[in-house]
């Protein structure tokens, strides 16, 4: 499958680039989060499976993967909430979960929850005290996340979106160098998603922190992130700049019969895409000649359409490619 090979090639190239900069010396890159051989098992369930991942400092890094891929487990290990079964995780070079590394990190893991008897103002005050940040401008932060009007309401009366916004204030108000946001828009309506996305962008720009963002919203990731890693079943299956993963060559999707004859004509440039379609990895100017060749060979063409490359299809392709590999 040519397109997957190109993804693998891109991934390998990216990993080589990462390896190059990881070598000691003047070009050594600093990493916000490093995982080396990280494994976490819950009974028979392997949430992380020998995961090695390096997230460079700076910019917005997306972590993608289906439910159960291990994203939250990775973040919980990084924040010291969960102990790995084996392997190590480091935050900015310090062991993950240690007070020294956590002082520079803010995290919102899944939907934030607060003691129900606290107002938003109280919750931020309590978290500021807990962090030893005595000079935090709580009113200013409530204003930045649009909660001034509800500052003295108990958080138990807040909507999911309001809790997320308060969570973002709690992440950023200690001025972290790294912010981990685990599905910050989950459970929100489209307007709320848009609002939070804008807020993350703004805070990232204003605060200058490295942001690691896990999300199921691929459009969100495409718009916000510079680089992404895709996890599946606790393993890293792809990693690289968003445009590298999403910007593969477009493919011509041909619904035709008989399909085996189509695939024979396409040779190495073709791959089946379902029971009645083929994907042709060709350049746009090659399409008319291909169509003529297929018609000349007696193939009935029902539909021929260019499938544009995007992060979503790349993501699905990568995950589908992972499935047969697992089955083997």
């Amino acid at each position: 499958m040519a397109d997957l090979r190109s993804i693998a090639h891109s991934r390998d190239k990216f990993i080589r680039e990462s390896s190059d900069v990881a070598e000691p010396g003047p070009r050594r890159m600093s990493y916000a989060l490093e995982a080396e051989g990280l494994t976490k098992t819950y009974g028979a369930v392997r949430a992380l499976d020998d995961l090695t991942l390096r997230i460079p400092a700076g910019g917005v890094f997306g972590v993608l993967g289906p439910n159960g891929a291990g994203k939250s487990t990775l973040f919980r290990i990084a924040m010291g909430l969960v102990r790995p079964s084996s392997g190590v995780a480091r935050l900015s070079g310090s062991p993950a979960g240690h007070a020294s590394s956590l002082r520079r990190v803010g995290a919102m893991i899944e939907t934030p929850r607060y003691p129900p008897y606290l107002t938003a103002r109280d919750a931020l005050k309590m978290l500021a005290l807990q962090s030893g940040a005595h000079d935090v401008d709580i009113d200013g932060w409530l204003d930045r996340v649009g909660l001034t009007g509800a500052a003295d309401r108990k958080t138990s009366t807040y909507s999911v979106g309001m809790k997320q916004r308060l969570g973002l204030a709690a992440v950023f108000f200690t001025r972290p160098t790294l912010a981990i946001l685990d599905e910050p828009t989950s459970g929100m309506d489209p307007a709320g998603i848009q609002e939070i996305r804008e807020l993350i962008r703004r805070l990232a720009a204003e605060e200058g922190a490295t942001i690691i963002l896990a999300s199921h919203q691929l459009d969100e990731v495409r718009r916000v992130c510079d680089r992404v890693a895709i996890l599946a079943k606790g393993k890293l299956v792809a990693e690289g700049p968003v445009e590298t993963l999403a910007g593969r060559k477009p493919a011509l999707r041909i619904v035709a019969s008989p399909l085996p004859q189509v695939l024979q004509i396409l040779g190495e440039q073709g791959a089946a895409d379902g029971p009645d379609a083929a994907l042709a990895q060709i350049e746009r100017h090659e399409a008319p000649a291909l169509i003529r060749a297929l018609v000349g060979a007696g193939v009935d063409i029902h539909e021929a359409r260019w499938r544009e490359a995007d992060l979503e299809s790349a993501y699905l392709d990568i995950l589908q490619a992972k499935e047969p590999a697992d089955a083997r």
């Binding site: 899944e110 929850r113 129900p116 606290l118 109280d122 807990q130 030893g132």
Partner: protein, 269 residues
């Protein structure tokens, strides 16, 4: 920093009015109501009886001596389970643990509860004093001096012993809270422990090692040695051993809670 964690816990408890009322204020308020109500009831039964002398310090010492009863223990457990295990219930550990060390967080909770228990005990004692003053005012009974030893030593000593006994319950609720991740679990186990140890201690008379291992027995022995030294025996009472057992319970349960919490995975709290 531990000081930051203590500040945060203190701030948080002051905002948790339900826990403050039931865990800190209810026992003193109930004590006050019972003192005054009991006085009024007794007056109504004994109309025309001569005024009874009122020993305020004696009433305070007596209140403190009963300050570690299972009934008071219930309210202390409401306080301690809310503070120590509430973050499992609200799933808020993930909000706190990245901001401070786990040991600091749990120690801060223990320190906050310890201070709140001390305040509750002081209020409970003051309620007894107010009840005594009310009795003297309504009956016209004279205020008399404390017949025992040094009032300050007896007050401070009884306070310390009862506080220590209650803190054993607090430490137990911390451990059970961490193990069960449940406020209700910690409350029920703590209450059962308080009731059972009280019953078992009342059945034991000789200060054997087995008896001294029961916190209620050790506490009662220490209070007896302090308040009624002549009634103990002609042999030296094993007060140091009793105190050692109480401290060992407190230290052992707290250390176990800390050790388990430090290693605990906080997935879904």
């Amino acid at each position: 920093m531990l000081a930051d964690a203590i500040s945060a816990e203190r701030f948080r408890l002051l905002k948790d009015r339900g826990t403050l009322f039931w865990g800190v204020l209810f026992a003193p308020i109930a004590g006050l109501v019972l003192n005054i109500g009991g006085e009024l009831f007794a007056r109504s039964l004994m109309k025309g009886a001569p005024p009874i002398p009122v020993d305020i310090v004696g009433r305070m010492v007596k209140a403190l001596a009963g300050g570690a009863s299972p009934v008071v223990g219930l309210f202390v457990l409401i306080l301690s389970t809310a503070v120590l295990a509430g973050d499992y219930r609200w799933e808020t550990w993930r909000l706190l643990t990245p901001r401070n060390g786990r040991v600091n967080l749990l120690l801060a909770k223990l320190a906050t509860v310890a201070a709140a228990v001390a305040i509750s005990l002081v209020l409970y004692t003051l309620a007894a004093a107010v009840g005594g003053l009310f009795s003297a005012a309504t009956s016209g009974g004279p205020l008399v001096g404390y017949p025992g030893g040094s009032p300050l030593v007896d007050l401070a000593g009884t306070f310390a012993i009862s506080w220590l006994q209650l803190m054993v319950l607090v430490a137990l609720s911390a451990l059970v809270g961490v193990v069960t991740r449940s406020t209700m679990g910690a409350l029920i186990v703590g209450l059962a422990f308080a009731a059972v140890q009280s019953i078992v201690a009342s059945q034991m008379h000789e200060p054997s090692l087995k008896a001294l291992a029961i916190p209620a027995f050790s506490g009662d022995l220490l209070k007896t040695v302090l308040l009624m030294p002549r009634s103990v025996t002609d042999e030296p009472a094993p007060w140091a051993l009793a105190l050692g057992f109480l401290l060992a319970w407190l230290a052992g349960l707290s250390a176990a809670a800390l050790a388990l919490f430090q290693r605990q995975d906080l997935t879904r709290e």
